[in-house]
Symmetry: C2
Subunit: 225 residues, 2 copies
């Protein structure tokens, strides 16, 4: 039972809240029983797992939690990336919000079993918020770092300023669904051909737009199966 | 220019981070220029607005921010609720996560101009996270507190354990779209008749499920218009 805040495992967990340390150590944390289960189900072996009251005093684990005081389990894993392959890829450009990156990973997995490709300027998918938002899909379908030019498949870009509606797009696989950051959107060459989701007011965030489009892709794939 | 942390306006903003104080004062905060603009566009008058460097020293405003240090504008508004009326209502039951409540308010407004109805056990829509996630839609379409029995329209419940797929549901308005909490779901009598969004793995969070269904409703409403 760990009883000192100077314990090396606790020190590692504390470091992994920072991107620079995650990159240096090639590790990341997943907090909570659900994520530990998802990791195991996807065949990931942890470097170590600390359980409150079993391996470590609950207050010490709470102190190193990145997500709040309720955490009872923290697992540390080696970072592992996916490959940009499959009938459907979701390509994100400049999506800086880790919650959105994690949510898109979750949607892509849940709706289409698709891999998310992270282009330039995207948030670290191994950050605590992204891992949490992915709800285990990070383990099942780890994202792939790549540039759009490296991907194969018909490109369909989604942008709030697109001229045509999403319903007019051909979503037959193989497909690369491209989405940009909420504010800056996609690079001009992609935005020029983009389709949009019709809205009455405001716009949707990138995770919501991706989820809608992925649901349409899932329908399309089911119709073709 | 406010230069003391003991200033009464700063004290009020600090209090409004807590639900008990929001209820007692009947006020809430909106942080950021976008939200201040959205409030004005929707015809809401603030109790007061503090701008960093104009009305208050930036460090003092950063200290009372509920969302992080980057906030340059904080507005304080009187809470105002909507009415549970319209061709489409989104009824939430026991959705405790304020980010999800705010996101559903945003989606309902953006996709269908619909009002969100908050049933028992939902998060306070005037909490900082909910206000932020709503991205101004809270001002344009404030949610209504009500029980399901008070609403009129065909009830379509969405639940991960539903037997039929969403595609089989009749989404013709007037419609009440019902969603429950991610873990506990809907009450048994609603869940029994629920439709689901087909997923390959895991499930979707309530905000994603609502967004997908709202997009289908928007299509349906457009086809009928």
């Amino acid at each position: 039972m760990i009883t000192s805040p100077d314990n090396n495992k606790l020190k590692t967990i504390r470091k992994l809240q920072r991107k620079s340390w995650r990159a240096k150590l090639g590790l990341f944390c997943a907090e909570g029983e659900d994520l530990a289960d998802a990791a195991a189900a996807a065949g990931w072996r942890s470097e170590f797992v600390l359980r409150a009251g079993e391996d470590v005093e609950p207050e010490l684990l709470a102190e190193v939690s990145a997500l709040g005081s309720g955490t009872r389990v923290v697992g540390v894993y080696a970072q592992r990336w996916g490959r940009p392959e499959g009938a459907l890829l979701v390509y994100l450009h400049g999506v800086e919000d880790p919650g959105n990156v994690g949510t898109v990973i979750r949607s892509a997995h849940a709706l289409c079993d698709a891999t998310v490709v992270l282009g330039p300027g995207c948030a670290d998918p191994f950050s605590p918020k992204a891992v949490r938002a992915s709800m285990g899909s990070l383990f099942a379908r780890p994202p792939a770092p790549a540039r759009l030019e490296q991907l194969s498949g018909r490109v369909v870009a989604l942008d709030a300023a697109g001229e045509r509606a999403l319903d007019t797009a051909d979503l037959t696989p193989p497909l690369v669904l491209c989405l940009g950051a909420e504010r800056d959107g996609l690079p001009a060459e992609l935005a020029a051909e983009a389709v949009r989701i019709p809205v009455i007011a405001d716009s949707l965030n990138v995770a919501m737009a991706a989820t809608i489009a992925l649901h349409d892709c899932a329908r399309r794939m089911a119709a073709h199966a």
